[in-house]
């Protein structure tokens, strides 16, 4: 893997979004990944709709939670994703109003990624931002810097938040993942969270996945 990488500098990441008081992190993690995949395969960065997933992905539970793997399948079944503008976010479940005619992106498949963080970094640099799920221990009060909680406090067995890996690197010899969160840009470092890389911190390597365009 290259020494460091950041898709934000390469135009593959939309601005930080805000899920509001709703457990819809899974939808933001997946749209972030599909936005990256569509940019890299089709050259256009489009901000895609999470509300469509909340309303129309009947397998997942909207604000009560969901899984990226189910969401990819729903996008395939529905026939694609509309843009944020066409199907804007409300932060609570509504009646599905998806229109295939308005879908601007589609996906063909989705894949599970390796749990080896070195290989994960290589995959990210080669293929784009990655949907992951982590233990959100400490994130309620996170302000800045590279988080590295003690393993018992941030166990990989208690995954409860889905986010998007957009890059990685080192800050004064501390390896990190750059993670796009969906709690607004007034949280963390302009909406981003930095987590220690290479130690499986908070289960960051346990549920890595991506859509395939």
């Amino acid at each position: 893997a290259p020494h460091e990488w950041d898709w934000r500098n390469k135009g593959a990441v939309t601005k930080v979004k805000d899920q509001g008081m709703c457990g819809s992190c899974w939808a933001f993690s997946v749209t972030g990944n599909v936005e990256g995949q569509w940019f890299l395969k089709r050259g256009a960065l489009l901000s895609l709709s999470e509300q469509e997933l909340l309303d129309c992905d009947t397998v997942d539970k909207a604000c009560l939670g969901g899984l990226p793997s189910n969401a990819y399948s729903a996008i395939k079944t529905l026939g694609g994703l509309e843009t944020e503008d066409d199907y804007s976010y409300h932060g609570h479940l509504q009646t599905c109003s998806f229109s295939a005619k308005k879908a601007r992106v589609y996906i063909n498949d989705s894949v599970e990624l390796t749990q080896n963080e070195l290989k994960l970094a290589a995959w990210l640099a080669e293929n784009g931002p990655i949907s992951v799920a982590i233990n959100a221990f400490g994130m309620q009060f996170y302000r800045r810097g590279i988080s590295h909680p003690l393993r018992p406090l941030c166990s990989p067995w208690f995954i409860d938040h889905a986010v998007l890996l957009v890059g990685y690197g080192n800050r004064s010899d501390t390896p990190f993942w750059a993670i796009k969160n969906s709690w607004g840009s007034d949280w963390g470092e302009e909406g981003y969270y930095y987590l220690h890389r290479g130690s499986g911190a908070c289960g960051v390597n346990t549920m890595a996945s991506s859509a395939v365009v």
Binding site: M21, C22, G23, S24, C25, W26, D60, K61, L64, G65, G66, L67, P68, S69, N70, Y72, S73, D109, S110, V111, E112, L113, T114, K119, A122, W123, A125, E126, N127, A133, A136, F137, G138, Q140, F141, Y142, R143, R144, G145, I146, S147, H148, P149, L150, L153, W157, F158, I159, D160, H161, A162, R171, S172, T174, W183, G184, D186, W187, H196, M207
Partner: protein
């Protein structure tokens, strides 16, 4: 004082026996019952306490039994809940006449209050209970809370709500300190826009319990990136 027989009598006897604990104990109970409808609120059973000076205030370390009322209303609890007794430990700071709930820890126990006088209760405040409480802790907390309310444009419907939120905020400041002390990276923890939410509220509104409960749809494994 020995615990009198009936709960009502107990309440009366309790008051007369520990007048200086009444204020903090009542405040802790008020915070515990925050948001509960009449008829669903817990009542205070026996109280024991320890007081120590802290800055210009006093920290009350209370060990109390709370009597949770039975619940048969299906709209309130899915299954009927029999009357339950909880053993709670509270830490309440009283400074310049203002109470701040610093810690609350409750669990169901038998009705008999165990006698564990040697337990040090205030392991949370501050991180080691040896360090003295900063001066004017409560006053500083109020000013930090005001900054938080202004910065994040918070509004609370009632004075009680604001008071409750401030006590949650104070507990969260201490929780953030603890997380900071235990982090091995370079992260900084402190006041964020979520600092007036309890851990339960934050978990309920912002996190995603399904991620650990359900395996999700099986996907094929991606091909590894070829070695250049």
């Amino acid at each position: 004082a020995p615990a009198p027989s009936s709960p009502a009598a107990r309440n009366e006897a309790w008051v007369s026996a520990f007048p200086e604990l009444l204020g903090p104990a009542r405040y802790a109970l008020e915070m515990y019952n925050h948001g509960r409808a009449a008829g669903t609120r817990a009542a205070l059973g026996s109280v024991r306490g320890r007081v120590r000076r802290a800055g210009r205030g006093m920290v009350y370390s209370l060990k109390a039994t709370l009597e949770e009322p039975p619940c048969n209303d299906p709209t309130v609890c899915q299954l009927p809940v029999a009357k339950k007794t909880l053993l709670c430990s509270f830490e309440v700071l009283n400074e310049l006449g203002k109470h701040v709930l610093l810690r609350r820890n409750c669990r169901p126990v038998e009705t008999k209050v165990t006698d564990d006088r040697n337990e040090t209760l205030s392991s949370v405040l501050p991180l080691s209970n040896k360090a003295p409480l900063p001066q004017d802790f409560s006053v500083r907390m109020v000013s930090i809370f005001k900054e938080f309310v202004t910065k994040y444009n918070r509004t609370y419907e009632t004075k009680e709500e604001a008071q409750w939120r401030m006590s949650v905020f104070a507990s969260n400041v201490i929780r953030a300190q603890k997380i900071q002390a235990l982090d091995r990276g370079t992260a900084q923890y402190g006041v964020t826009k979520f600092s007036d939410l309890t851990e339960e509220e934050f978990r309920t509104f912002y996190l995603n319990p399904l991620l650990k409960e359900k395996p999700g749809r099986k996907m094929r494994l991606a091909k590894a990136v070829p070695d250049p």
